[in-house]
């Protein structure tokens, strides 16, 4: 590795410049982390603590936000509540202390499941289609390849909201409004351009001799693709999958327009929590915290691939 570094920088950076660089990186990381920390802290605050000014750094943590996130509650008289007997859970207890009882589960969990299905489903489709298309563009003489590739990329240049209304009308006609399938197709369409471009870069780097060797060894091109090309493209596929997943997971504009009930994803749902019984910031923060977890886990697991995905083309092997 040292020889690689030597090729890029002739002089080892001085200690001062290293310190300056470290300071900038740490400062940037802290600034970036503040909203996340704020959200996580808020999710464990009680509603009064969450809106107190100046914001409380030290407070009595409570699960009230999480309880409120997952339940719907009704206000009852204290007489009725005392007649109920012992509380059955922590959430039950917290809810009763606010003169309310749990009426049933909230919509958060179904919405979160929608998000999982739609984000992972569309990521899987976009990466699968993208890998095959990228392989085709990389290995075969596709007529008008340059124009097609530019066309594919150009679909990404347009702000999604610009086509939201036509897609809304189209989906209503096709019966795809507020369906998971519709959202999967839509996110796949948006992501496939990114997937094709990223993966073409990765597959271009895999020497075609590998497939040629496999084909001479007695395999069909398809077998060669699965047995030889795919295993070597895993890094690229992982990086591409993360980018696609982040987009599909976070997408708000289409989701708010095209989903309202059965297929609603978490992003348009979370803001609606605020209206249920006053300004329930801890519940919103709890919803956001849980929403961030899957992406956080995935990114940490695949951070090496992600980094390589960002710098691909710049690093050789």
């Amino acid at each position: 590795m040292s020889s690689v570094n030597a090729a890029h920088s002739v002089v080892e950076p001085s200690r001062t410049s290293k310190r300056i660089a470290a300071t900038i990186v740490i400062a940037y990381a802290v600034i970036t982390m503040i909203p996340l920390v704020w959200i996580v802290l808020t999710s464990f605050k009680s509603p009064p603590d969450s809106i107190s000014y100046p914001p409380k750094i030290v407070f009595q943590p409570t699960l009230e936000g999480y309880c409120n996130l997952f339940t719907t509650r009704t206000r009852q008289t204290p007489e009725y509540i005392t007649s109920l007997g012992a509380p059955t859970s922590t959430c039950d207890e917290i809810t009763r202390s606010r003169n309310m009882v749990i009426a049933g589960p909230s919509n958060y969990w179904p919405r979160f499941q929608n998000s999982l299905v739609i984000a992972f489903g569309s990521t899987f489709l976009a990466v699968s289609l993208g890998t095959l298309a990228a392989y085709g563009f990389s290995r075969f003489k596709v007529p008008l390849a340059e124009d097609l590739l530019f066309f594919i990329l150009s679909t990404r240049m347009m702000p999604p909201i610009a086509v939201a209304i036509p897609i809304y009308l189209m989906y209503r006609q096709l019966g795809l409004s507020d369906t998971a399938l519709g959202m999967i197709l839509l996110y796949t369409a948006v992501n496939v351009s990114l997937a094709v471009w990223l993966l073409k870069g990765f597959i271009d780097e895999i020497p075609r001799e590998y497939e040629e060797a496999a084909m001479i060894d007695g395999y069909t091109r398809m077998q060669a693709f699965f047995k030889v090309v795919l295993p070597q493209a895993t890094t690229g596929i992982a990086a591409t999958a993360i980018f696609c997943l982040i987009f599909a997971w976070n997408e708000y504009a289409f989701a708010v327009l095209l989903t309202s009930g059965a297929a609603q994803t978490a992003p348009p749902f979370i803001p609606t929590i605020i209206g249920e019984g006053g300004q329930d910031w801890p519940a919103v923060a709890a919803g956001t915290t849980i929403f961030v977890v899957p992406i956080l886990v995935f990114t940490i697991l695949l951070r090496k691939q992600l980094l390589r995905g960002i710098t691909f083309g710049a690093v050789r092997k």
């Binding site: 060797a213 001479i216 007695g218």
Partner: protein, 365 residues
């Protein structure tokens, strides 16, 4: 093992013609080297035999069967790539077993054949190693193993020693030739290195600009080059050309170069007045004080057992390979004696050798 027969093979990439009308036969068990500079069409020819490129026209026969349009996997051939193309996600054993898996060979037999092959190549101790950590020579042997293990109809090799360093190349050249002697596999070997071709091949096809300039044994190609291109490409230093203009008659036994009469092998063709070149290998020149063919010593390179002396002849340098113990002063006038029955005569316009008693059987592409 099988014979490879190529008939009028052509390959065009758009307007560029990579291979033009090539025909040759590699006999069963023979080692053919396709030799030429980069871009001469040798790799394209090999890839067409392999089925990795389809010819524009012409036919390819493997063991008598027309395989021109068969897919690579249907041809039962093995290919060793320049960069080996070892599958990086598999270990040595799996790499070698890969072609057998495609054929559906039973597990126990795969194991036995992989181990037998590894023993033959002396890589049985690294079978369970990852291929990414292997040294160049071992990679080479694994690539060969993957080719040998399936017992194909023929081996095709695309500059397999190109990336090895010089010392290792010599070793692998010997190993490859020994291997060929042991398993007698029909082999087509692409290289730009004449020494490799000379050292290993039974037959050499010298290619240039998509044309096979000459097809023959290394001895034929070296001592009776069919064209000036071959004469110039083979040999280090290459053949010297003494250019002159003359008309010649069938049966002539001498030519006049710069007013000096030089004996040549009997000419078998009438030639009109044209520009000709007398071709002479450096080792067929000796120094003689009485020779009327004279020039001034320009410089010399010492090679240990011999030396290459460059002599300025007025029209250019002539290089002679002479014993190392002879001493020359730069500028000294010397007489050159040519070994007359080793001379070639070329027509400069066509570049082809003029038929003579030395060129009774004339090979050309």
């Amino acid at each position: 093992m099988a014979e490879i027969r190529i008939e009028n093979l052509r390959k065009e990439f758009g307007a560029f013609s990579a291979v033009e009308d090539s025909s040759f036969v590699v006999r069963d068990g023979e080692f053919l080297a396709l030799l030429g500079p980069s871009g001469c069409g040798k790799t394209t020819t090999l890839r067409m035999i392999a089925g990795l490129e389809l010819p524009t026209s012409g036919k390819i026969f493997l063991g008598g069967e027309d395989v021109t349009f068969n897919r690579a996997r249907e041809r039962d051939i093995a290919f060793v790539f320049q960069l080996f193309a070892l599958y990086p996600h598999m270990n040595v054993r799996k790499n070698i077993a890969f072609p057998l898996l495609a054929q559906g060979v039973a597990k126990a037999e795969i194991r036995a054949r992989v181990e037998e092959t590894a023993k033959l190549l002396q890589i049985d101790h690294i079978l369970d190693r990852s291929v990414s950590g292997l040294a160049g020579g071992d990679r080479q042997r694994v690539a060969l193993g993957r080719a040998i293990v399936r017992r194909p109809k023929c081996f095709l090799m695309d500059e397999p020693l190109g990336t090895l360093d010089a010392e290792f190349r010599d070793l692998m050249v010997r190993e490859l030739r020994e291997l060929h002697n042991r398993i007698h596999a029909t082999t087509v070997y692409v290289t730009h290195d004449q020494l490799e071709a000379m050292a290993m091949a039974d037959k050499i096809a010298v290619m240039n600009h998509g044309i096979i300039e000459q097809f023959g044994t290394p001895q034929e190609i070296y001592s009776r080059p069919a064209t000036m291109y071959v004469a110039d490409f083979i040999g280090s230093p290459p053949m010297n050309f003494l250019r002159f203009t003359a008309g010649l008659q069938k049966g002539a036994r001498s030519v006049v170069v710069d007013g000096v009469d030089i004996s040549v092998p009997e000419i078998h063709l009438d030639l009109e007045e044209s520009e000709l070149a007398l071709g002479v290998r450096p080792e067929d020149i000796s120094f003689s004080d009485v020779s009327p063919l004279r020039g001034a010593v320009f410089g010399s390179e010492y090679h240990g057992t011999n030396q290459i002396v460059a002599v300025e002849m007025g029209k250019g340098l002539v290089k002679a390979r002479v014993p190392a113990d002879q001493n020359f002063r730069i500028g000294e006038t010397v007489g050159l004696e040519l070994n007359y029955d080793r001379l070639s005569l070329f027509d400069c316009k066509s570049g082809r050798a003029v038929p003579s008693s030395r060129y009774a059987e004339h090979h050309h592409g």
